[in-house]
């Protein structure tokens, strides 16, 4: 008995290769999506769950081809609706480990409503948000995250729209987990994905992704070899917010409630003055300041920015059903049919 239990409990050793499907990967050569695919396969192999418990659910767009390249259960659905489909799948089958894949157009334009409501409900899944600030699959139109003034095929004179900051949107929807990575950093992305999976509730992982064809270099300041260390701040819970090539830059709180970039060793600043990252605090204020930092004024925050414990939607749903069932005298359909006012003829 003990032996068989142990056997059941011990997960098979899986490798990233086990998660590769037999389908040819059709993204453009050099596309940032390749790196994210590798990160996901690497992370899933380490999650300790059997392969059949994974479901990858996507909408429409370049990144939404993702499920076809994964040897898991997968659903390539319709534009914008993946968060809703994933919400239904998780509610129906809470044992599933759901990765919901979307691009900035899919999740924040046509699917914006489903995105915020999935976050608000805190359904336990990871939303992998590929943000390349452009519509790639339809060949180069501006997206809801395109920078103001950006020239695209549908904004030949520059966009006149304000872009969304995905993190701001998510925090507004009371997100409990928000992390950010870049497509080329496979190590960081997989590390974040493992944390995202451990988090119970909706985990958003924004990946700053490069579209080599229609928006090449959108994130170059934070990805280029020469500048990246000056413009990336990788946050880790409990560690100081230090960055820079020389590891001598950091963040302190300014008098006006704004974050300030300082250099250790200058103006009497020591390492002890630098802020320590607290991802677990429920107060979203600091997470909001961190996630909204943009280069070149600030470094861009990467890593797990927010990770706050809360019950997930489906945990509450399952509990409520159990509670009601314990109280109710109606145990089956025949009971219901014969409940209340009935009479014999």
């Amino acid at each position: 008995m003990a032996d068989s239990l142990l056997k059941q409990a011990a997960p098979e050793k899986l490798t990233p290769k086990d998660f590769k499907s037999d389908q040819e990967v059709r993204w453009c050569p050099g596309c940032g999506d390749h790196g994210v695919l590798n990160s996901v396969q690497k992370a899933m192999a380490l999650m300790g769950k059997p392969k059949e418990d994974f479901a990858v659910i996507s909408g429409i767009g370049c990144s939404s081809r993702f499920p076809y390249y994964m040897d898991t259960y997968g659903f390539h659905s319709i534009h914008g609706r993946a968060a809703a489909i994933a919400s239904g799948a998780k509610s129906a089958n809470p044992n599933l480990e759901i990765l919901q894949v979307s691009g900035d157009g899919d999740a924040l334009a046509i699917g914006g409503n489903h995105f915020i409501h999935a976050v608000r409900r805190n359904i336990d899944m990871t939303i992998l948000l590929f943000n390349n600030e452009i519509y790639g699959l339809t060949k180069g139109q501006y997206s809801p995250t395109s920078k103001h003034g950006m020239v695209t095929k549908t904004s030949p004179f520059g966009t006149i729209e304000q872009p969304f900051h995905p993190a701001e949107l998510a925090l507004g929807a009371q997100s409990k987990f928000y992390a950010r990575s870049i497509d080329t950093n496979i190590k960081l992305t997989s590390e974040i994905l493992l944390d995202a999976t451990k988090h119970r509730g909706t985990s958003i992982v924004e990946v700053l992704q490069n579209c080599v064809i229609y928006n090449d270099g959108a994130h170059s300041l934070i990805t280029d070899k020469n500048t990246k260390e000056e413009y990336q701040l990788v946050l880790r819970h409990g560690e100081r917010m230090i960055f820079g090539k020389e590891k001598n830059k950091g963040l302190v709180m300014g008098g006006n409630g704004k974050l300030v970039v300082v250099t250790i060793g200058e103006h009497g600043i020591t390492e002890q003055d630098i802020l320590i990252h607290d991802a677990h605090t429920p107060d979203p204020h600091m997470h909001w300041l961190l996630s909204n930092m943009t280069a070149p004024e600030y470094p861009v925050a990467l890593g797990v920015i927010r990770d706050v414990a809360a019950l997930s939607y489906e945990e509450k749903m399952v509990q409520q059903i159990k509670d009601v069932q314990a109280q109710s005298s109606i145990k089956c359909m025949d009971d219901l049919l014969n409940s209340g006012d009935t009479w014999e003829v």
Binding site: E52, Y73, G88, H117, L336, N338, W343, V345
Partner: protein
């Protein structure tokens, strides 16, 4: 129970309660119908209320009505015209006088006939003072002041006192039809159990109304309607929406799957979601989505993940669900889409009935995108057709549209309670661990693929909205394959015809006229045809529940008759659909678009005219 001098036995009676939308007329009507059903009468009801919760007080637009028909014989409709009208204010009288039978009884709340209210209702003069109502049996009752008088020492506030005046009217009508008060008293005790003062107040007013009618001998004679002779069994009253919800739960239990409903509130479908949300004791999962699209998409996600999934809506909501419905067709996942039709287009007449979503149900999707469409035809058989829709969806691995309508949804009737053991089994084509699984391999009988539920070891696969390669289910842009898959999707729906019953006909095979209907018009059509048959008219009725595919004997039935008239509450959508299927048959039409059901009277006139035509 009462000592009335003169009692007249009646076969059937129609009562219409009407008042302001806040006057509690729906509750009053429901109480009377439940009491009558418990008494053993056959009953049919028709709530008719405005879209606004509290429409402008005292105006004709704000009138809420509840009509009920109870009888000693089979009752199939809520009745065309009322024997008794209860009008709580001038607007209610104005709106409903045309629905009262010649020399019928009208009970009015005399207190409400003030100058101000008369003006709001659009009366130039007080109808109670002139001779306009001379042909009716007019009963003037000072309902408001009598209620106030009755409760002056009750300790209740003025607002609560005024709210109970509907009980006075109900009490009066109970006396007139010799009904016991016990059921309503129990109801009041249950509903207000936390407010003993309100319980006492309402019971007191109910009895006061009863005694008032007795004292004034509201009718010189009084009616008695004997219990109906109906099939033995255990009965309950049920509305169409509740029956729909229960049919879905029954199917889930029979199939051995959890029920998941993703939905967004919309009139007149909301009660299905509400009823399902209340049934957590049976493990039902309801997901009130952020919009109609998320309603169906969460359901599709739940279906993918192995639950029996449904989504419920009305016409405008079905339009929003269109793209996702196409996804369900493409991915061949089981799903029931319930459309409780209402007056359209656009927001249209949200609280009124219509059958104008038929073409939307049959054709309203992008691409060649067929799915079975079936329709319920009485409030209680919403259970049966919800069950059948579910069985088709689960066994054939397809989305199915179930059409009901506002009339069925809100209407109630006594229903012989089925036993779960007597319902036909539902066999779900689940793929199992160790199967040699191909996502789009099919069985021969139904062309249904197998359902490999995530979590099943070794059956990992991908599905989606892109065209599928036959058998393997991988993405395919091969031209010939698209033809093959389009043909399969069409053939799959056609094969459902092998699993549904033949179209029944009421009447002779060689009748002069065949009346054709579908869905919620059944009660009125069957009553009109039955009454004409009693008059020895050569007429028959074929009423459809299965729309797509049609029953296999449809053409054979339709061809037998010289004159075929298709009656529907739209501009001829089913007639057009039949024409496209059977080009050699001539279809005449009778259509109505007033947000109201047919009347038996107008149907009989139409059919008589057709019978007389050479």
């Amino acid at each position: 129970m009462s000592q009335k001098t003169k009692v007249i036995e009646k076969e059937e009676v129609v009562i219409r309660f009407s008042g302001d939308s806040g006057d509690g007329m729906q509750l009053t009507g429901t109480q009377f119908s439940d009491t009558s059903a418990l008494f053993g009468n056959d009953v049919a009801t028709f709530p008719d209320y405005p879209a606004e919760i509290r429409a402008p007080q005292g105006t004709v637009g704000g009138v809420s009505g509840f009509q009920l028909h109870f009888g000693h014989t089979e009752v199939n409709t809520p009745g065309d015209y009322a024997d008794v009208l209860v009008a709580m204010n001038p607007a209610a009288l104005k709106a409903n006088l045309k629905w009262v039978k010649a020399s019928g009884t009208i009970i009015v709340n005399e207190d409400s006939f003030t100058e101000r209210n008369l003006e709001k209702a659009g009366y130039d003069s007080d109808p109670l003072q002139d001779d306009k109502l001379a042909d009716y049996n007019l009963i003037k009752a000072r309902v408001t002041s009598l209620t106030k008088e009755c409760l002056k020492d009750s300790g209740l506030d003025q607002k609560s006192i005024l709210r109970s005046k509907n009980m006075f009217a109900l009490g009066m009508v109970y006396w007139m039809f010799d009904r016991p008060l016990a059921h309503t008293e129990e109801f009041i005790e249950g509903k207000f159990k936390k407010h003993p003062l309100v319980v006492d107040g309402n019971k007191k007013v109910l009895r006061a109304g009863y005694n008032f009618a007795k004292t004034i001998e509201a009718l010189a004679y009084n009616y008695s309607v004997a219990p109906a002779k109906i099939k033995k069994g255990t009965y309950r009253n049920i509305t169409g929406n509740k029956a729909t919800a229960w049919g879905l739960i029954a199917a889930a239990e029979k199939a051995g799957l959890p029920l998941f409903c993703g939905s967004y509130p919309i009139t007149p479908a909301t009660e299905i979601l509400q009823e399902l949300a209340a049934r957590k004791d049976l493990g039902v999962k309801t997901f009130q989505a952020e919009d109609e699209i998320a309603g169906i998409c969460t359901a599709i996600g739940a279906s993918f993940a192995g639950n029996f999934a449904v989504t419920t809506t009305s016409g405008p909501g079905l339009a929003l669900k269109t793209e996702a419905a196409g996804l369900a067709v493409m991915t061949e996942l089981p799903l029931v889409i319930v459309n409780v039709q209402r007056g359209g287009p656009s927001t249209g007449l949200p609280t009124k009935t219509e059958q104008s979503d038929l073409m939307q149900a049959i054709h309203g999707r992008s691409g060649e995108c067929p799915m079975p469409v079936i329709a319920a035809s009485t409030p209680s058989n919403c259970f049966e057709y919800a069950y059948r829709a579910s069985k088709i969806a689960l066994e054939h691995m397809t989305p199915v549209i179930l059409l009901t309508d506002g009339f069925l949804a809100n209407g109630a009737e006594p229903w012989r309670i089925p036993k779960m053991a007597d319902l036909s089994p539902i066999t779900v084509p689940l793929a199992k661990e160790g199967d040699d699984y191909m996502p789009y391999a099919r069985d021969e009988e139904k062309l249904a693929r197998k359902w490999a539920v995530p979590g099943t070891k070794g059956l990992e696969h991908r599905i989606g909205g892109l065209e599928k390669m036959d058998v393997t289910g991988t993405v395919s842009y091969v031209p010939e394959n698209h033809q093959v898959m389009t043909d399969i999707r069409s053939e799959r729906v056609k094969k459902v015809a092998n699993f549904i019953p033949d179209l029944p006909v009421k009447g002779e095979e060689n009748a002069d006229v065949l009346v054709v209907g579908w869905g919620g018009t059944y009660g009125h059509l069957t009553t009109a045809v039955r009454e004409l048959q009693k008059e020895d008219k050569s007429i028959a009725l074929a009423h459809f529940n299965y729309i797509l595919p049609l029953p296999k004997n449809t053409e054979e039935v339709l061809k037998r008759y010289k004159k075929v008239i298709v009656c529907e509450l739209n501009d001829g959508q089913f007639a057009e659909y039949l024409r496209s299927n059977f080009q050699d048959i001539k279809f005449q039409q009778y259509n109505k678009l007033q947000g109201l059901p047919f009347t038996v009277k107008e149907l009989k006139e139409t059919f008589n005219q057709l019978l007389e035509e050479k």
